[in-house]
């Protein structure tokens, strides 16, 4: 409850001085920028996924990554963002940004052979590496506080639709006498609708290069929250709003990038 109150106060804080400051400081209220960057996705908690981390539900999904290890990856992004000036110091930023995010899970081939007994054809239990590529068009919702050349921002990116390409690397049983194994790969692509939230905080520094303002930023993203079957259930009496729990990935992003304001 306490956390929710703090988050609510943080949310309404930028609106508090909205009416006075926009009147006192007339000027350009909306600014479009080109934005590009990259991020390192890492893990603080153990990267190894223990088979003991059982949660009830779909047997395959719950155990899909048992004994796998999460591998750190890199993310790239580029797109157009729009900043709306709420007051002298506060801004709200949204936009459309393309992100290529990756998820990689890997297991030793020997472990796959020992625990999952590969088939003689590419079968899901013979996978030793999942390579997921999420091509997202993300919408940021960021509030920023500008102080001189620095801007401190907080908020989240959200993705509703992504094109997911997956490369499955399999071990297959090639011969029985003597027993031998070989590896093969399969690529599967398709659109996926899942609501994903990527919370982050950023610090930006504005500098003029050849008379043109350029903003360099550094950021930290904390965890990912993903709803593959999202629904809101309303109930009038007793009043209740029910939203399913997301799948949470305990990861972090170290972001760096640049924003170049566009002139129209």
């Amino acid at each position: 409850m306490k956390t929710k109150c703090v988050l609510f106060l943080l949310f309404i804080l930028p609106f508090s001085s909205f009416s006075q400051d926009t009147i006192k400081n007339p000027g350009r209220k909306c600014r479009f920028s080109f934005e590009a960057g990259a991020a390192y996705k890492g893990f603080v908690k153990p990267k190894y996924i223990s088979p003991d981390s059982y949660s009830p539900g779909d047997t395959y999904r719950d155990h899909q990554f048992d004994r796998f290890t999460r591998i750190p990856t890199f993310t790239i992004n580029a797109g157009i963002s729009m900043s709306v000036r709420l007051s002298k110091h506060w801004t709200f930023t949204t936009g459309l940004i393309y992100y290529l995010r990756k998820d990689v899970y890997r297991m030793d081939i020997d472990s796959v052979i020992n625990y999952y007994k590969p088939m003689s054809f590419p079968y899901i239990t013979g996978v030793y590496k999942y390579n997921y590529f999420y091509n997202n068009i993300e919408v940021p919702f960021m509030f920023g506080y500008r102080f001189k050349k620095l801007t401190f921002s907080f908020g989240f990116n959200t993705s509703l639709l992504s094109y997911r390409k997956t490369i499955y690397s399999y071990v297959i049983k090639a011969g029985s006498y003597p027993v031998s194994y070989e590896t093969t790969r399969k690529t599967v692509g398709g659109f996926e609708n899942a609501i994903t939230i990527y919370p982050s905080i950023r610090i930006g520094y504005e500098e003029k290069i050849s008379g043109h303002p350029v903003i360099f930023y550094l950021g930290i993203g904390i965890s990912e929250f993903r709803w593959t079957d999202f629904y809101i259930h309303f109930q009038t009496y007793p009043f209740r709003i029910e939203i399913p729990s997301p799948e949470t990935q305990p990861c972090f992003y170290l972001q760096a990038g640049v924003q170049i304001p566009l002139k129209f």
């Binding site: 395959y60 709200f92 590419p122 509703l160 609501i195 629904y231």
Partner: protein
């Protein structure tokens, strides 16, 4: 005012997405009419029997979000779990009943049964028409 408009748009988008049924169903690309080649072999007691024949059929969505149903022209049906990589597992089969889609146009599965009285194998290969 713009903020409230933005929030209303976000709420509308979230409401549209707010259903349990996935809009992009990974099973869709595999559905359709197929030609099947069936190989059956049985070793029960001292006798051995095997045969190969061709038949037509349809692959449609199964009884849950992760399954498909094969209906042959003989009205025989087989329900299989379809995994995200195209792997197949025959539903309610405790023996070795596995298969896979090699591509969106070609699939295969095998049902193997082994008991005290003998063993039985049914291998099916399907090609999309």
């Amino acid at each position: 005012m713009r903020i409230f408009k933005t929030l209303i748009i976000v709420f509308c988008v979230v409401s549209i997405a707010g259903c349990k049924k996935p809009v992009f169903d990974y099973r869709k690309k595999y559905l359709g009419d197929y030609s099947f080649s069936v190989y059956q072999a049985r070793d029960i007691g001292p006798g051995h029997y095997d045969t190969t024949y061709s038949t037509d059929g349809t692959i449609s969505k199964g009884s849950d979000l992760q399954s498909i149903m094969i209906t042959y022209t003989s009205h025989k049906t087989v329900e299989l779990i379809l995994y995200e990589d195209g792997s197949l597992q025959v539903k309610n089969c405790s023996y070795s009943c596995k298969g896979a889609f090699e591509s969106v146009n070609k699939m295969m599965y095998t049902i193997y049964w082994d008991g005290l009285s003998g063993e039985s194998t049914e291998s099916v290969t399907g090609t999309k028409k």
